[in-house]
Chain length 418, copies 2
């Protein structure tokens, strides 16, 4: 199966927005053994889009078209494609009702131009995951066409649900394909490559991809064969081997985020958490509260950007700040103790550091971060030195703090007595 992607949107061709949908789809298609031969990025020009689609139809068995499904003048893909394919546009009643319902929920009045959203080429099958976004597929001769929205979350969800599975089953011809993504944090790319080399040598039937996904690395294992159950069992064994080889660096085997993992473990152990942040500026709390139901175990946080706030809210002794400085293990320890007290929680994270670009010194350069981990019976601290810009240092600080807590909750010897 050979295919291609046509990504449309003036924002992509003007360099204002980088097309992330195509790399997303490209990686998954590649991992599944499907051949993507070409990605074409276009503006909203009818003639060039039609020329590109025409050529794609000559050489590809599947074509994924993203963007241009909206209600504005710029949204040209559906009408332009219908013309190229010589198919009439029909008004889809289901889509029309769906649009009206969406407008109603948002309290917006109906407008003529929304009618465009319900026009699809004859023969189109609506791809509707039940949210706000829809797409459609179309079989034309021997080519499968998929029309998806350009918004990354929508495109990627529809791709995973409605594009990859049928392509896989078309491509495999009786073979089954199993795939698993392993999310890693804490090993360098070189360390991961050594691990991968070993897996590949011992298991020649498995193909492995390594995808940096800052601040994590993702490993994707793909395997084919007649028996899905055998494939799953092989992947289970490989995951087990990898977990042993990689130790705690394996975050998980599915799309669960680090903050979800931490939340699950806190909930299972009936523990509650509070967070005191200086250099990460609220990012740890933000990530924790991205998880639905976080209020069950996350009691709250403080962002103490000033020494005064560290003293008043967290009871950090002025002598500690004077003697060791705001960026020190001692201050991180005091902050962790203080925030445990403030929110009455058995577990706490505290971070203090220099996110830059200014504020560094020879002894404490930009990227210096101290993390305090408060547990029921003790407080531990850790020193880190991160490299990168302000946002990267904030990201690494939050990730490292949450990851430390995850590892601690995994080996819950400290906490089992609680």
């Amino acid at each position: 199966m050979h295919g291609e992607i046509i990504a449309t949107g003036t924002e992509l061709i003007s360099g204002r927005v980088t097309d992330t949908n195509s790399p997303y789809a490209a990686a998954r298609l590649h991992d599944a053994g499907l051949v993507l031969q070409c990605i074409t990025i276009l503006g909203d020009e009818v003639a060039l889009f039609q020329e590109t689609l025409h050529q794609a139809l000559q050489r590809s068995q599947f074509i994924i078209i993203t963007g241009g499904l909206g209600p504005t003048e710029d949204d040209i893909t559906v009408a332009a494609a219908a013309q190229t394919l010589n198919l009439p546009l029909r008004l889809d009643d289901y889509l029309l009702q769906r649009i009206k319902d969406c407008l109603k929920v948002r309290g917006l009045p109906w407008e003529e131009r929304y009618g465009r959203l319900a026009l699809v080429p004859e023969g189109a099958v609506i791809l509707d995951p039940g949210g706000t976004a829809c797409g459609f597929s179309l079989k034309y001769g021997n080519t499968w066409l998929y029309f998806l929205p350009g918004v990354p979350e929508q495109m990627q969800m529809l791709f995973d649900l409605f594009v990859l599975p049928p392509l896989l089953s078309l491509a495999s011809g009786g073979q089954s394909v199993c795939q698993r993504t392993l999310r890693m944090f804490g090993l360098t790319e070189t360390q991961l490559e050594v691990l991968l080399d070993k897996i590949c040598k011992d298991n020649p039937m498995v193909s492995v991809g390594l995808y940096p996904n800052f601040p994590e690395n993702h490993l994707c294992l793909t395997i084919r064969g007649p028996e899905p159950r055998v494939l799953e069992a092989t992947l289970d064994r490989l995951t087990q081997d990898l977990a042993e080889a990689a130790g705690d660096a394996l975050l998980g085997t599915d799309a669960v985020t680090l903050e979800e993992l931490v939340g699950k473990k806190l909930r299972a152990q009936r523990l509650t958490l509070a967070v005191a942040e200086s250099c990460s500026g609220g990012l740890i709390s933000h990530r924790l509260t991205n998880v639905p139901g976080a209020s069950d175990y996350f009691m709250g946080g403080v962002v103490t950007y000033s020494n005064q706030a560290k003293m008043e809210l967290l009871q950090v002794p002025p002598e500690t700040l004077d003697h060791y400085g705001a960026v020190s293990a001692e201050t991180a320890r005091a902050m962790a103790l203080g925030v445990k007290e403030l929110f009455h929680t058995p577990v706490a994270l505290a971070v203090t550091g220099i996110a830059g670009p200014s504020g560094g010194s020879p002894e404490k350069p930009v990227g210096t971060v101290y993390i305090g981990l408060g547990l029921p019976d003790q407080v531990q601290t850790r020193h880190c030195l991160f490299h990168g810009n302000r946002e990267q240092i904030k990201t690494l600080t939050a990730q490292t703090a949450l990851d430390w807590l995850r590892r601690e909750l995994q080996h819950d010897s400290h906490l089992s007595g609680h």
Copy 2:
């Protein structure tokens, strides 16, 4: 001048590496008023590369080709292009000597295959910035071809030095190009389109692009003419007209973020800010602290996810919580007052709401948010109803709260007495 980019490399088509060269060049070409009509990303397939190049030659006055200049079998672009252009390859003595020198410096022995690196099509002009990377350009009929390495730093340096300047001088033919981006928040796309229609009608010489950039919308105005000063003056007038028509929805005319704008205004007015967050979970603090130097005006924040924390840290009266609920204008008001007190600041933001997916009710559905804005002499509250998933509701909550503060600081009648 119309042009396109052909980016080659198996790593790009397998999703392992995202092509950053094309967006880099696209943004600079667009800003310079040059039209990039298409970006094609290919693997190392000779036939498809030749087909793509052939089509590009029909429709483009400049073609930038990246990748495939190396010494390995996969590096196909030079030989494949020479064949398509029907030009003989010649051994360039200068390049050959350069390669030998490079090998010598690195202590590497000469190998036959390095000879490939010195082969270029007849008529090529070597682009040599004096480092390790080279490219070449070639005039073919009316089309300028640029062959650049795929390594981002090398490609981008060669692009800036040897591609953009000649294209600019070719394209302008005595004309100047001026461009301005206007960042908007608070109007729907439909409202913006009505505004744009009017501008376009009144100013046919201006081209306008609308780019959704959740949660903002960006407008890009481009204008060409002989006199740069006249163009700038026209853009000034248009910006002024738009600012009046759009009211406070215009955030600014450059790449300054909302949190930077808020920071600038707070600093100019010598005000300090504290933040109390419930449903936004730390995101407002996170955004404020993404700005270097935020500690000058941002004193800190609290994330109060429980009623207990709202009472203990922010002195929200238990009767308020009992009578009106945690998600209410009265609680938002009490939180704003409490956090002003806690951090001793004249200005405060407080938010409380339901980010979902659960926790909604018929009277207070998911997306219900109350914002409190504490000013030196008063506290105002506002009720919002947002749509979207949990992350989108958090994003809209933070954006709306920060935007409200920005508008208030713009019309600083409340604050001038401070």
